[in-house]
Subunit: 142 residues, 2 copies
DNA sequence: TATACGATCTACAGCAACTGTAGGTTCAAG
DNA sequence: CTTGAACCTACAGTTGCTGTAGATCGTATA
């Protein structure tokens, strides 16, 4: 049995983040000492490790909740798990594509600017102009 | 002179977003009709276009504020503008690198799973394990 | 056993960058 | 002059945490 601080250190999580996960029902309510401090065991350590590792892979808390629910029914088909992972992969790939387009435009913008004064700066001009825009009326990357 | 709705349509912005930009001081307080409705001109249209285009390129509102301030002093050196753009480029490149690592790991994870039952699912196993992790105790992509 | 002090507790505010809602008012076309 | 779409303010909600204040707890050391 160990404290929230120890759990935090072992998983590379902030103490507040663990309490937050508990609050939103992602982590279970743990046992308490007589004084009211949380005490954890290896089950909680594993669960939190799973959550953190999934977060590192970019999964949303919603997706992680789904994965945790699925892993609780070991006899079910793993097609659903696969679907969650596939969706995440597609999202990651979409973000990469978007960022690569940004990179191209930023590089071009920067390389075109050889000005001295702000007045002649191509960067600001490009930013002002909507010509050659990636695409109009699109959401910025989140 | 046109309404906030017209400005919104012309720049692909939501009406509330424009009011939000005004609230945080990114857009100026415009003139009003006798009834109290906002009226805009071409100056505001240009400024909002600049903001939206910059957002599309991934600049934060803070960075945009900086760029707008810089563009107000046309005689200054454009080195600072360049620095802001360079920083943004580096951030974009860092995000791409991170996402590409995620893509590799997600692909590997998915391809390794040929199980039927959740109990044997490699995806969940990989997520549970910290072995072969990208890196421990690292922040998830924002 | 007493004390000190770091760790933990709750509760709430705040971050980015918006988006949505409720309840009321104004503008412009017909 | 009516109607209804567009506008107004004010505030709550989103995601995933992070930080703060002020009080309490736990344990190592004297």
């Amino acid at each position: 049995m160990f404290s929230i601080g120890t759990l935090a250190k072992r998983t590379g999580t902030k103490v507040q983040t663990i309490r937050y996960y508990e609050q939103i029902g992602l982590m279970p309510e743990p046992g308490r000492t007589d004084g009211g401090q949380r005490r954890y065991g290896d089950v909680e350590l594993d669960r939190l490790s799973f959550i953190r590792h999934s977060r590192q892979l970019g999964f949303s808390l919603g997706a992680i909740r789904e994965l945790l629910d699925l892993s609780d029914s070991p006899e079910r088909s793993c097609a659903q798990v696969d679907a969650v992972a596939q969706k995440q992969l597609r999202e990651v790939e979409a973000r990469i594509a978007r960022l690569e387009a940004l990179r191209v435009e930023l590089r071009r913008m920067i390389s075109e600017c050889n000005a001295e004064r702000v007045a002649d700066c191509r960067i600001l001009e490009v930013l002002r102009d909507h010509e050659g825009c990636l695409s109009d009326h699109q959401q910025p990357t989140p």
